[in-house]
């Protein structure tokens, strides 16, 4: 059983929903990024999405774009993200999903990426600009299936397409909560509930909802409709607002703790 499946099993037994935390690896620099991640793990985050910084993140809003910029300026590369994954494994067994645009993976080498990601202790990969139509070229180069491929479903995705995406997915399904980039406003919870219901009817996989969720209140409400809640830009905003604070990691940890609490109240 994969670490991701195991985690959802345990959460269900505890009547909790998953808090999936996204941070850009290497933001604001590799050392402090690792401290932030340790604080997230200590705060009880259930799944870690580790963002591979990319120069042109067209599916992300300005907050994550700036976080990518800081990480790249601090010398972050995909190779260093994999080293960071190894280091995280020394203090945590939290499932790790590598969140990337396709080009850095393509430049790294598709089979080399798979080998080294598995060896580093990563559990899954989410390539935001690689729809099912194109993803065979990546996975067909892999020598096994030790990495879950997390798929996105959007509010614009029609039912037939949902079925097809669900059939090819593993780990969990990532439901984009709004028609927009990460961190944008205008979260429509009625729409989320409706799309989550459709998705639930076509797939037994856990459903995690993300994009635009930034407060414990929203987290609690979305947790009531899904198996997990993904928060990203809100963490990056805390990092960005506290770049010079020696207690940066502590602040991110406190915020994560409040969000995690919100996923416990729903069960």
């Amino acid at each position: 059983m994969s670490r991701i499946q195991e985690t959802f099993g345990q959460l269900m037994a505890r009547h909790e929903k998953a808090l999936v935390a996204f941070v850009t690896a290497g933001d604001p620099d590799p050392a402090r990024s690792l401290e932030v991640i340790e604080a997230l793990c200590d705060a009880g985050v259930d799944i870690l999405e580790l963002g591979v910084p990319f120069s042109d993140p067209t599916a992300d809003g300005p907050v994550i774009q700036r976080s990518s910029g800081r990480a790249l300026a601090a010398g972050m590369t995909l190779a260093r993200v994999l080293e960071m994954t190894e280091k995280i494994r020394r203090f945590s067994q939290v499932p790790i999903v590598l969140f990337s645009y396709y080009n850095p993976i393509l430049a790294y080498g598709l089979d080399r990426f798979y080998r080294e990601a598995v060896a580093s202790g990563a559990d899954g990969v989410l390539v935001v600009d690689l729809p099912p139509e194109e993803s065979d070229e990546m996975t067909s180069r892999w020598e096994g299936n030790a990495l879950d491929v997390i798929r996105l479903v959007a509010p614009t995705t029609p039912m037939e397409r949902m079925k097809r995406i669900a059939a090819e997915a593993s780990g969990f399904l990532y439901l984009v909560s709004m028609t927009g980039v990460t961190g944008s406003g205008g979260l429509d919870l009625d729409e989320v509930s409706e799309v989550a219901g459709c998705l639930r009817s076509v797939s037994p996989l856990p459903i995690c909802v993300g994009f635009g969720i930034s407060t414990p209140e929203q987290t609690a409400r979305v947790a009531g409709m899904a198996d997990g809640v993904v928060v990203g830009s809100a963490f990056e905003r805390v990092i960005e607002d506290n770049l010079d604070d020696p207690n940066l990691a502590g602040r991110v940890g406190t915020f994560a703790g409040a969000l995690k609490e919100a996923t416990r109240l729903v069960g």
């Binding site: 042109d56 599916a59 790249l72 139509e133 614009t156």
Partner: protein
């Protein structure tokens, strides 16, 4: 030489030109691209749609544009005969209008009333704003802050045409960043908004659709040169940023024994690292929805492009060009900023035609190419646009000789 049998009908059903092209976008956009592709394939086969498009080209864009025999330019090069395909005489002053009329007509056909576009030099922005005005549509144009500064007259034109110009300050404030921002905006507005992409780049079906709308350049050139010379040209030359004017010129000749040369911007020189020669010095990767050649570092991060011409200042290139390069069907060369400026001045003085800086790159290569070919050969250069928008840049560059290269 590639023939019809080897080139075949491209792209394939999934939008691939050999290993290039495709649809590398976030899931939110996939349904919109699939809808667009289906609508376009239907429109392409619909006689009423095609008749409307042809009528717009003839009655509104001013087509056909002339094929001009540039005698003084030819004499100055001292070799092969140079013809200029006068896309600078199309409405709005560049070939861009062919494509935007096609796409806005399609948007109208699909019932979408809002359009967005990205622009570098502003020619595509002006052409989109123009077509949107003609159809009474709401229009937003994303443009890098650096380009807003460099291309002020076109910003004024877009505003006069009723479009909202959205300055994009991220990155280097150029075309790449404008395209990022347009894609982001589209992700949020995809349900009622049509994205008018300005080159043969982006995700499928854009490279195919833009090529089809621009092939009128090559179709006309073919008829005109047969009429004038009684034979096909020996060489076609066009500048390549994203590559739409070049693709439009080349496409109808792909099965003919005609050489093709795409001219990229070498900026300060390829060795300087400050250039936009994607096919000449880039590597294969994925950006803005398709796989093609890119300017990138070894870690897959996109690098800045540089050219004195805002329209060529893009680190990617259309996927069909990547295939033509790989097949050896077309050759890709590059011209430095200073060489383009020289050609700009030369064409202005010798023929009374002030070319766009983009087109001046093609003219510069044509002068070299003509000089090494005999007088009985024929070269057609695509003069993709006129240079009014570039006067401030050219004046500043010519006054400061040290910025010429």
């Amino acid at each position: 030489m590639t023939t019809a049998a080897t080139y075949g009908p491209l792209p394939d059903r999934r939008g691939h030109f050999g290993p290039y092209g495709g649809q590398y976008v976030a899931e939110t956009l996939m349904p919109a691209l699939l809808e667009l592709e289906a609508a376009y394939r239907e429109a392409k086969g619909d006689p009423a749609f095609q008749a409307s498009f042809q009528e717009l080209l003839a009655q509104y864009a001013g087509r056909p544009t002339p094929l001009f025999s540039a005698r003084r330019l030819t004499a100055s090069a001292g070799g092969a005969k140079i013809y200029l395909k006068r896309e600078d005489l199309a409405h709005t002053g560049a070939h861009k209008i062919n494509n935007t009329l096609g796409q806005v007509l399609l948007a109208d056909w699909m019932g979408k009333r809002k359009v967005i576009a990205e622009t570098g030099a502003g020619q595509h922005g002006v052409a989109t704003a123009t077509a949107a005005a003609l159809f009474g549509m709401e229009c937003k144009i994303f443009m890098g802050t650096e380009d807003v500064r460099r291309q002020a007259p076109n910003v004024q034109r877009m505003r006069l045409l009723g479009a909202e110009v959205v300055p994009v300050a991220s990155g280097t404030g150029t075309l790449k960043d404008a395209m990022n921002e347009a894609m982001r905006y589209w992700v949020g507005a995809v349900r009622d908004t049509f994205y008018v992409i300005g080159s043969v780049a982006g995700p499928h079906p854009y490279p195919m659709m833009v090529r089809d709308f621009q092939r009128v350049i090559g179709d006309e050139t073919r008829r005109q040169i047969l009429d004038r010379e009684g034979r096909l040209p020996d060489v076609l030359i066009a500048c390549v940023g994203g590559g739409s004017n070049a693709m439009g010129l080349f496409y109808p000749f792909l099965d003919d024994p005609v050489e093709m040369i795409g001219v990229e911007a070498a900026g300060h020189g390829i060795e300087s690292g400050k250039h936009a020669a994607t096919l000449g010095a880039g590597t294969v990767g994925v950006l803005h929805g398709s796989k093609s050649y890119l300017l990138q570092d070894s870690g897959g991060q996109i690098q800045e492009a540089h050219s004195i011409s805002a329209g060529l200042d893009y680190p990617g290139v259309g996927p069909e060009h990547a295939l033509l390069k790989e097949q050896g069907r077309a050759r890709y060369e590059s011209i430095r900023d200073g060489e383009a400026l020289d050609a700009f001045s030369k064409l202005s003085r010798l023929e009374g035609i002030i070319p766009a800086l983009e087109s001046a790159h093609a003219v510069a290569w044509a002068l070299k190419e003509a000089a090494r070919r005999p007088a009985d050969q024929v070269i057609v250069v695509n003069l993709s646009g006129r240079g009014d928008k570039d006067l401030a840049i050219v004046a500043a560059a010519l006054e400061m000789p040290d910025t010429k290269d």
